[in-house]
Symmetry: D2
Subunit: 321 residues, 4 copies
């Protein structure tokens, strides 16, 4: 970036990129509207070798939450799973009065503690959220507008992987590396693919694999990271993508590109563009597969759980080739 | 059924249907092995109109857990969602010191409290679980064998809906209605479809829609219900289905077909056959769509969340046509 | 009551009874300030037979939350306890690699799901809370003012039981029975005791015992109930009690004494008087003991858990005689 | 210690100190039986200045769980508190349809995540627990025997503080410092007090205050620490104390005094002696007060929450002088 961005750039972007009303006054899913039925049919045609790859991190105590970091994300912790009945109960004979030997368990997790979708109720711009809804729609009762459950049948379409470190012949992008629109365009050419209306764009930075290789998440959750530059908001708007996901904690580059603003890309992407963001996607296996067969596009199915009123959802995204 | 089943029938079924070792001594996914890559490619070809339908109930306090019932399922409760930050916090100005206005939330739920997959660590036969593993592999630490995370990229293939009440010209099947293999065969012919190796079989009973229409889940969780008869275990084995799901609480018919045994179908299906079961699937919209276009097959993608060591997982199953 | 109360009575009471500033601008514990060291010394002198009685309900799934009721309390559920390690794990040998055999567990509960203290951050009057603090001090981050932890060493003093149904020769008071100041005065005379500055006043209605005897909590949580009349606010102010507790769900009489206002007593007691309220106290054993020895006063120790920022706390109150 | 202890010493201690049957075959509270009514009356007489001191750590995310340590305690995490309704909701007007403005919250915590009592169902000796009960009594359903609720009215009596570092003129005892019976006897003489039947013995090591002063809990949870030596088990038996509590994570000295045995003191204290242990007690304020007035005895009230079937309980212990 040649020029330091300011809060004024953020305000102008909010004016320039505002999609409020674009899909009607009652819309709650934003750019997911870009997907048309024909896109889903076309995406299914990309399934040629019958291979499904999971892009999810394990949901367990080995996850990134709680690691040391510059900007600790408030209130997040790794998933906690507790048993309600076990095989050791069965072995001990204490279940037999029930005349069936079963195990059950309970899950406690922030909806955004692992591989996840940020819903459109996750970030506010002033007192407003996506489509101009009053932010008070998101109270302790949950999200009365733009709850993640509104997307329950929307996370299906064509996926495209842009593997930036591979293009640059790097193992991974360093913290602070800002991925620009120009770089994304170059990647599209490099990998001989395209990104357009209704696509799910998945950008690999290598950040997650770097941490996994190091055996420590320190710096990952809320820390400095490679990621999309603020300027890509225009690029994404122009391309009309359905959603964007990365292998980083929060999609955008860190340190913050605008002083005194935390996550400026989020300020615009979610409430202004209505762009759903995918975070902490594990793309290692997918990247290897794309490199091997030279095909960087695939059918993409990453359902949210329809948790009523939730501002996000864990997901197990599948890339199917 | 003409003859009352006994515990001896259960034991004989365990011998007759035991798939332990069929996919190697270290297998942890059972009949999901029936799916071959070509099946996934073929399933994708079923996507012709670009329509995805969610088969998930909302995950919230309106769910079936806690309703009055004959055999209360132990330790289950409806999903609890709590906020970590809200739009009302934003409106009140208390978030501004953080220089971003966001909302977050936390989810507390039994893995089997709504639309879900029963993993192969869910039910034991004596001191054993699927593939002959010792049941003590499922301790308070979770499932060391057959955890649901082993299925993270497996829940993709061809889905087939058999709509039994529609075939019988009934709104829904009554409690105690046992669906036999003969009836399933008749449904296959009636709907001019087929069920075979690697398919995800979805059986509609109307039970869930009956409860939704009544506005009360009383009797649904662990109560008397229509469902698969014990004898369909042989039918499912022969057909080599990948998994079976229904719109009921627990797939099988209730009252229990064998006296003094709770859920005899489960005793065999999960630990002996290695059959993953889908429960509480909402199939109303799908049934209407199939009736409308006459096509009872579709691409089926119902990812589990890879919750390490979990005995089941909530899922948002998508039928894509 | 001869005259129907109105919202205007509520407003006048707020003016008349406002204790804001009474203990300084930075006070966060209200009427607990009435307790003086000499009161604690005197209370200890009431311990004569060395008998401690617990006034707590069991914290488990048998609690009152979730029962049928007229005004369902939002977001409350009975305590959920889940194991982290068990004796069945021990028996099964799976703990031995740790070289110690232990059991542990986890508790999930609303702070107000059983026997509990309502903290001064629990109820707001307009945009204000106790002592005139802005209600925005209680955000998703918790109670920055008047958190229950501020009371951690305050719940010690003289307790007095007023057993209204016993005085009236009734098994229990019926729903809607309003306990007036006059009745409380009569009880003081009847039981030959006194209520004064710094006392913990415990009023028995029999409501909880009625439900326990019936084997069903239906109607108890948020339902019509006997309880303190709105007019006792003046009486409590005059008496300078430290806190008030009852065996009902919410201390005050139901149906609400003021139309279109839910829990009018709460509106004044907590934010205006600064009066901490104890709810769902089990007083059956205590009442029998007092009847037996004729002494209706005792040392009372009912510590809150210092849960930082909590608006209430479960407690196991002890009456020591 | 002059001689290295072995597993054989542990076995001999189990034989020598076994209190099984001492209070009848159905006893579930062990040494708490040492307290007699007259002790409670006498304890109350120790209340002379009317000062209650809380010995509880704040229950919040600042607690010791999760800090770096040698022997990480499995499955423990700091208390999580989440709001159900807030003052910011109130301010935003979203509560007004309910006609009352209240805040509520929910607590999620291991029962042993902060200041707490270890119940007698917490540790097993072989396949047995306190009083010879089969360890399978503690299953996923909770503790059918020796649940913490059995102690609900027992935690009242005379408390004695033995401040070891003060006696030794040290700020705190270093990790590995084993407090012997001889040292306890010396402290009794030094502080001119006594320890006898039915007392609650509180031993200060300074360990917690050291960590608080350092601003980091690293090393505290499950790490090397000062504490009671294995040999004090005989001393405690002889003294007939009701319970023992310290300001450390787990009462006993670390590193473990017996090779290949984790927490040998626990192996004997809980299941063999039937001794309830208090852990993570904050004794800084109490120690200062005792030093100031020269009185190391006080009334002690530390109620457990009667969480049915729990193996331990958080507590807010009060020392009242």
């Amino acid at each position: 970036m040649t020029r330091k961005l300011t809060i004024d750039d953020l305000r102008k972007a909010a004016e320039r990129l505002k999609n409020w009303g674009r899909w009607g006054d009652s819309d709650e899913i934003g750019t997911l509207n870009h997907i048309e039925p024909a896109d889903i049919v076309a995406a299914a045609q990309l399934v040629r070798k019958g291979k499904a790859m999971s892009l999810a991190l394990p949901f367990d105590s080995s996850g990134p939450q709680g690691a040391k970091t510059n900007y600790p994300p408030l209130g997040r912790f790794n998933p906690i799973r507790l048993m309600v009945r076990t095989g050791t109960d069965a072995y001990s004979g204490v279940l037999d009065a029930r005349r069936i030997r079963t195990a059950e368990d309970v899950l406690i997790m922030p909806t955004q503690s692992g591989t996840q979708w940020d819903g459109l109720s996750h970030v506010f711009y002033g007192d407003y959220m996506w489509n101009g809804y009053d932010c008070r729609n998101v109270s302790s009762f949950g999200a009365a507008k733009c709850g993640i459950e509104k997307t329950k049948d929307k996370m299906v379409g064509r996926g495209v992987l842009l593997d930036i470190p591979k293009m640059l012949d790097m193992a991974y992008l360093p913290a602070g590396f800002a991925i620009t629109g120009e770089l994304l365009d170059r990647a599209i050419r490099h990998f001989q693919t395209e990104v357009g209306r209704g696509d799910f764009l998945i950008v690999r930075t290598g950040n997650m694999e770097e941490k996994l290789a190091a055996g420590s998440w320190d710096g990952y959750p809320g820390g400095d990271a490679p990621g999309l530059s603020f300027e890509t908001l225009d690029w994404l708007q122009e391309k009309r993508v359905a959603a964007v996901a990365t292998d980083t904690f929060a999609v955008e580059v860190r340190p913050n590109e605008i002083e005194d603003v935390v996550s400026p890309f989020h300020w615009i992407a979610i409430p202004i563009l209505g762009l759903t963001l995918g975070e902490m996607f594990y793309v290692g296996e997918l990247a290897n597969d794309c490199a091997a067969d030279g095909r960087y596009e695939f059918m993409f199915v990453a359902p949210t759980l329809p948790i009523t009123g939730a501002v996000g959802s864990p997901t197990n995204p599948l890339a199917i080739k």
